[in-house]
Every structure is written in structure tokens, then in C-alpha cells.
């Protein structure tokens, strides 16, 4: 199917926005100390590598297609050879896509109930581009309750659209000029690179986090205000104008949760520098360890800079329906809300689906008594199983209680600490019919980290982990194999 970059011998070898070296002309200056051994603290993504010439596509078109061909490759290989217990038992098990497959039974039965099936003429006609009022009211009530906001949230601050990718794209466009940037702590959900770039032409400045716990840090990959300051200075020194900060909480891929104190510090940092803060809280109800005390930014008593704080949420993760394409923005800044809403004509969602989402969100009995307890119990069990397996294999990992994935340290399984070796290991997983995501796709600085998704049915998880075990324990002789002759670009990361 691919006719472009893969056939070209000079096809880029890594995903453009995800390659720390592509912006390296700038990167060296950024490091505070010139010594080689010290890790760099920031990097500027440059999603504009040289692409092969095409007779029909613009440079942006080629890039978009390149993203498609490369970043989705693992995903598409999976789709061509998807595991099925009966029909394709030797197919690929997907531990790469961050989807919750544990509760389709609950969701299907809820979505099939009579209240979901209503068809009203107004649902079939042109909508208010912010979203139907009935849905925005429901979203405001829902977020007020589950984010534990101090005052009730207001429907006029809600904008509804078809997913958080669209929201990133719209926000980047209305907050930044072409070529300006957002700060983002890395490792991060790598797809954001293209979300903000394709239409918005906005770049990301990475705030690199390390696994090593040093002085000020209390945990691996800890974000501190100092690191934010350094990265911002670094970007300024390179002449990159930073307009905002993107935070994902609970974090993807780490599974970390920011404490209210940390949150406040980050928000104060942003305020000092007049930066917008885009808070991605799509995993907020997927905190399955209740003791963690997750706090949404909307629960803070006083936001340092409410006009520059923009929260996103969706049903893709917390309600396990990535195929529903529902995402929402909450911002007190009416100008931002209006500007995003005007782009919603390109990112709208069907009136009938808006009705269904509203019905779903208002059914608190079902959410509180059926869905959430069951979902959390299943997530917990699946997490316990996969983390147990990893322990059995002697693999270090971040043991967190939120999200659908585990950030695992396979560094000792790489013969050399390079991203090439990381990709070879990823390829061996895929050859052994298990799809995972490698750290480079999340802009991780240290080769050897992988993200494993555990929110899947027990039988698939078991098989998936068996295959992981096989690769890691039966691997030594394979290390001697010559590099794969395929020129295809592996990327394990889909979402």
C-alpha cells in the first residue's frame, strides 16, 4: 500500500518529530554544561526532515503520509494479522495501543438501552459548533462532580469535538503562531507531535526527564520546576518562542500522578512566564488505586492563571471508547473557547453521538455502581498480572496505579545502549507476534524503555506475556543475527 517513503533508499530512519537528533544543531547549545556525560535537559522537535519528492503531494502532504506510513506501521502490521482466539491464534497480540478492552460488555449493553436510540430532528441538523447545549450542560455537571470542582463548572466554558487529537490541533492553532512551541515533559504521548504540527505548524520543546533519582528527585522521571525553567531558557536561547506547557495527568507513558503541590508549582511556573497550560486529563477516571488521591486541576481551589489554563478530557480512555470520537475542552477563557469552537466545523461529531454521550454521562448510578467499580477492579487485576510477570522476569518497571500501561526498563536487554538496538528488540517482539511501544516513540532520552499496555482480556494478556518472555529469555542467540534487511520503519507507538 505504501508507495512513498519506504521504497526510497533515503527514507528517514526515525519519525521526524520523535527524533532527538533531527534538531541537534540546536540541541548542543542547550545543555547547561558542555560535558558529554551530562544528560541534555531540553530539545526542540523539528518535524520537517527532507522528504522524497512526490509529483502530487505538498511537503506537508508528504509529511502527513510519512507519519502515517511510519508511525502506524506497527499498528497496521497488527491489523493485517490480528490475534483471534479461534480464527487466528498465531496472530499478533497488541500491547502497544493504549485502549481499554476490559469493559466492552458493560459499554455495549449500556449503549444498547432504549434511551440511547432516540432520533430527534435537531440532532440531524447543523449543530452549534461548540456542541449541543444539552451535552455541554451534561459535560459541565459531569466534570464538576468527577473533578470535584469547588464551584459548579459552566456549560459556556465547554467545547465539544471529535477527540483530543483534534483539540490539540485546534488549541495549538489558536494559541501559537506558526513556528512557536509548547513545552512538554518527555517521555510523553508521542502523537501530540503531529497533532500540533500538521495544521498548526507548532513545535514541541522537550523537557527531558531521567530515570535516575538524584538529589531533588524523589522518583524516576520526576518533573521539577527547575527542569522546566532550564528547558524554557534553552528554548529561548535557540530563539524558539514558547507559548505554553502541555501536561498529561495521569501521565502517559509513565502512569505518574502529579500531587496538588506539584501541580500548583507547575502552574505558578507557567504564570510567571505567561505560558498557557494545556492539561490533558484523559486518564483521570482510570486511576485504579484509589489511595493515590488523584486531583484534577479543576479541583484546585484557586488556579494561578485561570485564563491560561485549558483542560481536556475524553471518553476514549476512561470509558474505553476510542472509536466514539468524543473529546472536550474546559476553559474559562471565552476567547479561547470561541476560537476553538470555530474550528469545530472541521472536527464536529454527529448529533446522535452527542445524544448518546449525554445519556451516558448523566447515568451516575450506572457509572458509580456498575462501570467504575468493575472497570477499576478489572484494571487492577490485569495490572497485577502483568507486573507479576515482569517481576518474574526480573524486569524493573514503574509501579503506578493509573492508566492502561506499564513503563518497563529493558535496558539490560540491549547489547548496546542505542535506539537502534531498542528498535531491533521491538522488531523481535513483533516477529514473535507481540506489539509493544518503544521509548523513542515517546521521546525518551534513554534507550531501552518500553510501554506495555495491560488493559486487555486475560487470555490475550497471558499469551502476550508468554511471547514477551520468550523474546527476553530466549533471546541471546538472536542477538547475533544481522540487522533486519527490511527497510521498513518500525514504530510501536500508536496511541
Amino acid at each position: 500500500m505504501c508507495t512513498l517513503s519506504k521504497k526510497e533508499s533515503r527514507a528517514p530512519t526515525t519519525c521526524p518529530g520523535l527524533d532527538p537528533n533531527s534538531g541537534d544543531g540546536l540541541e548542543r547549545e542547550c545543555s547547561r554544561k558542555p560535558e558529554q556525560k551530562l544528560p541534555e535537559h531540553c530539545g526542540v522537535g523539528d518535524p520537517t526532515p527532507e522528504f522524497s519528492v512526490s509529483s502530487h503531494l505538498s511537503s506537508r502532504g508528504r509529511m502527513s503520509k510519512w507519519f502515517w506510513d511510519s508511525a502506524e506501521e506497527g499498528y497496521r502490521t497488527y491489523h493485517m494479522d490480528e490475534y483471534d482466539e479461534d480464527k487466528n491464534p498465531n496472530g499478533i497480540i497488541n500491547l502497544g495501543t493504549s485502549e481499554n478492552k476490559l469493559c466492552f460488555d458493560l459499554l455495549s449493553s449500556r449503549l444498547s438501552q432504549g434511551d440511547m436510540l432516540q432520533v430527534r430532528p435537531s440532532l440531524l441538523q447543523y449543530p452549534d459548533w461548540r456542541g449541543h447545549l444539552f451535552l455541554r450542560e451534561e459535560v459541565a455537571r459531569f466534570l464538576s462532580f468527577y473533578c470535584k470542582s469547588h464551584a459548579p463548572l459552566k456549560p459556556e466554558n465547554v467545547v465539544v469535538l471529535n477527540g483530543c487529537s483534534s483539540l490539540f490541533s485546534a488549541l495549538a492553532t489558536v494559541l501559537c503562531e506558526v513556528g512557536e512551541a509548547f513545552l512538554i515533559p518527555a517521555p510523553y504521548y508521542g502523537a501530540i507531535t503531529q497533532h500540533v504540527y500538521l495544521y498548526g505548524n507548532v513545535r514541541l520543546v522537550y523537557v527531558y526527564l531521567n530515570s535516575e533519582v538524584t538529589e531533588l528527585d524523589t522518583r524516576p522521571f520526576q518533573l521539577t520546576v527547575e527542569k522546566l525553567e532550564v528547558a524554557l531558557k534553552g528554548a529561548n536561547a535557540k530563539g524558539v518562542k514558547v507559548k505554553g506547557l502541555i501536561l498529561i495527568n495521569p501521565q502517559n507513558p509513565l502512569g505518574d500522578i502529579y500531587s496538588p503541590e506539584e501541580l500548583k508549582e507547575y502552574l505558578e511556573f507557567a504564570k510567571r512566564h505567561e505560558l498557557h497550560v494545556v492539561m490533558d486529563e484523559v486518564y483521570m477516571l482510570s486511576v485504579f488505586e484509589e489511595s493515590l488521591g488523584y486531583r484534577s486541576v479543576l479541583s484546585l481551589e484557586r488556579l494561578p492563571d485561570p485564563q491560561r489554563t485549558h483542560v481536556m478530557w475524553a471518553t476514549s480512555k476512561d470509558f474505553g471508547m476510542s472509536g466514539l470520537r468524543f473529546g472536550t475542552l474546559y476553559t474559562e477563557n471565552q476567547d479561547v473557547a470561541t476560537a476553538v469552537a470555530s474550528l469545530c466545523r472541521y472536527h464536529g461529531l454527529s448529533g446522535l453521538v452527542q445524544h448518546q454521550v449525554a445519556q451516558l454521562l448523566q447515568d451516575r448510578d450506572w457509572i458509580n455502581q456498575v462501570y467504575l467499580p468493575e472497570n477499576h477492579a478489572r484494571l487492577k487485576a490485569a495490572h497485577a498480572y502483568v507486573s507479576g510477570e515482569l517481576r518474574g522476569l526480573g524486569i524493573p518497571f514503574l509501579n503506578r496505579g493509573a492508566g492502561f500501561f506499564i513503563w518497563a526498563d529493558l535496558r539490560k536487554h540491549l547489547p548496546k545502549a542505542t535506539f537502534e538496538e531498542e528498535r531491533l528488540l521491538w522488531r523481535r517482539f513483533l516477529d514473535n507476534k507481540v506489539l509493544v511501544s518503544f521509548g523513542e516513540a515517546f521521546e525518551c532520552k534513554e534507550p531501552g524503555w518500553f510501554r506495555l499496555v495491560f488493559s486487555d482480556k486475560a487470555h490475550r494478556l497471558r499469551l502476550g506475556m508468554q511471547r514477551v518472555r520468550k523474546v527476553l529469555t530466549g533471546a541471546p542467540q538472536m542477538l547475533e543475527d544481522p540487522p533486519s534487511s527490511q527497510t521498513q520503519e518500525p514504530t510501536g507507538q500508536h496511541n
Binding site: 502515517w68 436510540l117 503562531e177
Partner: protein
Amino acid sequence: MSHQPNSLQMKGQDLKTQKPHSQVMELILHLRQIIDEYSRQLKIRHLQKDLEQEKQQHGQDIKDQEVIFVQLLGEVVNFLQAGATSILEPQLPRLSLDSRGGDGQQAQLPRKPDQLSDQLSDSKTAVLSCDLSNRGIDISASYKSSFKDFIAYIGDKYQEDKNALGFINLGLSENKLCIDLLTERLSQSDMNYIDDDLLQYPDWSGHAFLRKEVAQFLTHYCKAPEQLDPENVVVLSGCCAIFSALTLVLCNPGDAFLTVTPFYSGFTFTSSLYVNVELIPVYLDSEITGANTQPFQLTVDKLEKALLEAGFKGKKVRGLVLINPNNPLGDIYSRDSLKEYLEFAKRNNLHVIIDEIYMGTVFDESIPFHSVLSMESLPDPNRTHVIWGTSKGFGISGFRFGTLYTHNKEVASAVGAFGFLHGISGITQHKLCRLLQDREWIDNVYLPTNRSRMQEAHKYITNMLKTLKIPFLNRDSGLYIWINLKEYLDPCTFEEEQQLYRRFLDHKLLLAPGKAYKCKEPGWFRITFADKPQRLEVAMNRFSQALSEQKQYLAEKHEAHTGGI
């Protein structure tokens, strides 16, 4: 564009500027002739002489032509400096006034902070400028100006029993005639299917089952000579999404597309603000002259001229956008003209984006509609891209469904890559698939009913227009009629057009003013007829009330004017 004097003093200026204006025109014509002659010579020489000679001669020719060119341009500039400043002055304030009204034009204007903050009269203007990017400010301002009235309508829709004083929207191109049929069909049990696949991340080009159904549907209803290929289909959340993704993959920032104008305003908005693609209007006139046989006729000549002019301005033109059946005119291109336009594009290596979303709105069966997909051989299949959706023919704009069909697999896959930004819910995709699949319902229930209801509604409105002696284009497709209210403007300016638009609005009636479509001549409006008879009746009452009020206003104005002297 006519320059309407606002005072006696300006009348004098106008006379003064008339002269240089016509001289500039002459010079430009002269330039055009020289260039035509030059290119003709080049062609002949190419045939006659060998390459080496040609190269030498070519260089000399270029020098000669450059000298003449520079001289002529110098003259043009002198004339403009000397005389035209007086043209520009009265124009500028008018532009900014016009853009305040409810139209989509705003998007095309360069940013003028004063003018925008003027629009955003609320107290937050200061905050706004530091919170939003410049393009964010433009987007927001454009939204406020073009959707303010639409939002008012959404919150205050006319309902016969419950809200008899609410807005009636005949400015929106929406088919409200068959909502009963669709509501019923969409309520049937086959629509309510859910499985795990529909709830998971989809293939971003659209679920295979839907793309297959779209290919079959278009094969049948576009009368394609061969079965269309599902691999060439991409489905996204609406035709504007298709247009924006398509122009993005075809254009580098700043590249341009030619648009036959008056032109659908929805696309204008996307291109300039989100995609950074320029739309260059190919202006059509209502007047029937020379080669034209009907008002607003598109000819290859006009396309050539627009392309040439764009080239002079250093624009990189990547393609041509056609809407067939046309929005807002309702025109249907004949097979021959279609072919001519496509050949023109091929000659100039241009992509053609052809929007056929109104294909299902041809309500007179005797009028043949030719989809480009029905052509035996497309002049340039790899550069021909068709847009279609269910918003118009099926009247379900709330579904947010648009589809692209292109023979160019590279383009299809690049546009498909935008699925994550323009995705459609799996549940919706299932419903659409069921709907398109049900040929029996479409052919025996929906289409005949829709057609006859459209005919009736069209007849009702056109009769009313005839009674009111309002000229209009009498066409057989689209959901709207392009009407001429020049008679009700004095002076005939866009400012007055906007006033008239406001007057309709005061009567709780929304119409779409010509300026929203970048029509060059003030006074044209698009009025939607595809609405329930009862609402149409109320709307037309409001319409004629507003017009008689306008008439009275003009009479009073005239009286005051003549009385004053």
C-alpha cells in the same frame, strides 16, 4: 466594483478617478496583448527553429519584453499614484464596515488590529490579544462575525406552536423537507448495532465496511463506467474537513487554488485560517456578454485569465475548485463544459477538487447531472478529486460525514492520515453504511418523496418571487435560489446589502448575502427553499414585509436627499 460617492464632493473625485482607471485598464489590456503575442511567437518558433537558435533568440526576446513590461508597469504605477489614491480612500472605511456584518468574508482580509478590536467590542479585547495567537484572533473574530446570527438562530428557532416569533433560517443550506423520513429510517432497529470494533480505534481512512459501501453507492449514483475502488475512498467528519485535509496535502503554505466566485463560504474559512492556502477568485458576472449564454457563466477564458493574473502576482496556483451542482448559483455544468474545465486544468498541471455534495439535490429529473466519476476517461485522473457527503442530498448535516474519492492512491492515503483529526464515530459509520445500503428505501421512498417536496417548495418560492418581481436564477438543483435584490439597494453597495440583511434579521429571517460568497456585485442573496411549507409561508411573509419596509426607507431617503437640495 462600482465606487459609490457618499457626498457631492466625492462625486467630483469619482469623476477625476474615472479617467486614470480606464487608462490603467487599457494599459493592462495592452500588456495582455503583448504577452499573448509573445507566447504565440514562442510556440511558432518552437516549431520552426532548432533548439540552439531558439535559446539565443529566447534570451533576446525576454530582454525586449522585459523593457516594455517595466515601462508599462511604471506607467501603471504612476497613474495609480496620481489618481487612484482618491479611489482607495473612500474604499477603505467601507471595507471595514462591510466586514463587520455577518459574513464569511472576514477570513480573507489581512489582519487589521483596529478593525478587529472594533468588532470585538466586549471588554476582553485587551486580554484577548495576549491570550490568542494572531490567527487565533482572526479565527475568533471571523467566528463571531459569521456565526453570531447563526448562534442566535440555534438558541431561538421558530416553532409553529412553541416559538412563533423565533428565527427562520433560509440562509443556511439545509434540507428540512424529509427529516420525518430520515428520523423514521434512522430509528429502525438495524441502525442500533454495536460491537467492539465500533468502539475501538478505527482505520483512520474510515471503517472498511463503510468505504466499501460508499464506493458502491457512488458507482451506482454517479454512473461510474467501472466499479469504484474502496481503497480510493476516505471518510472524514464533513466536507469541510475533507477540503481542508485535501488542500493541506496538496499545497505548501501560501500556495493557491482558483475558486469560481461567487463561491461557497465554508471553504474560504478553512483555507485561509487553518490550512494557510490562498483562494483566488475567478469572478463571474451576472451580465450576459460575448461568449456567455447565461448569467454567471464560467468559461475557460475566464479561468485562463485568472491563472495568468495569479502568475503575474507570483502566486503558485496548485489547482481549481469546482462545485457542481453549484453553490450558490444552482447551476449544473454540462458534460462538455466540465470536460473543458478539466482539460484546462490538465494543460496547466492543476489539481481539480470537485465538490459534488449537491448531486442528490437535482429535483428535475429531466435535467441530466454528470458526475466527473461518470466520465469514460478523465483528462487527468491523478489530479481529479471528488468530494461528496450526506448533508445536502440526505439532509443530515448533523451527521458530520464527508467523503473523498480520488484515483490518486498517494493523495487518498495522505488525506486518510488526517482521520485522527477528523474522525467519525464508529457508531455513526455503521448508521451511514446501513443508510447508503438501503437502495430500496432510497429509490422507492426517499428520492421520489424528496424530489416532489423540493419541486413544490421551489415552485412556491419562485412564484412568490415572481409576484414580488424579484429577478432570480431559475435552476433545478440545490436547496436554494440565487436572487437579485439590487433594486432594493440605493446606492448599490455592500454596505447597503448588509443593511438589507440586517433588516431581514430584524424580521427574524436569515438569508445569505452575496458578499459571503465574495460575489462582486452587491445585491445578490441566497435564499433556501428546502423547508416545510408552513415555515416557508411565514418566512415569505417576513420577507415581503422587510422588503416593503426597505422600499419605504428608500423613498424617505430619496425624498430627504432631493428635499435637501
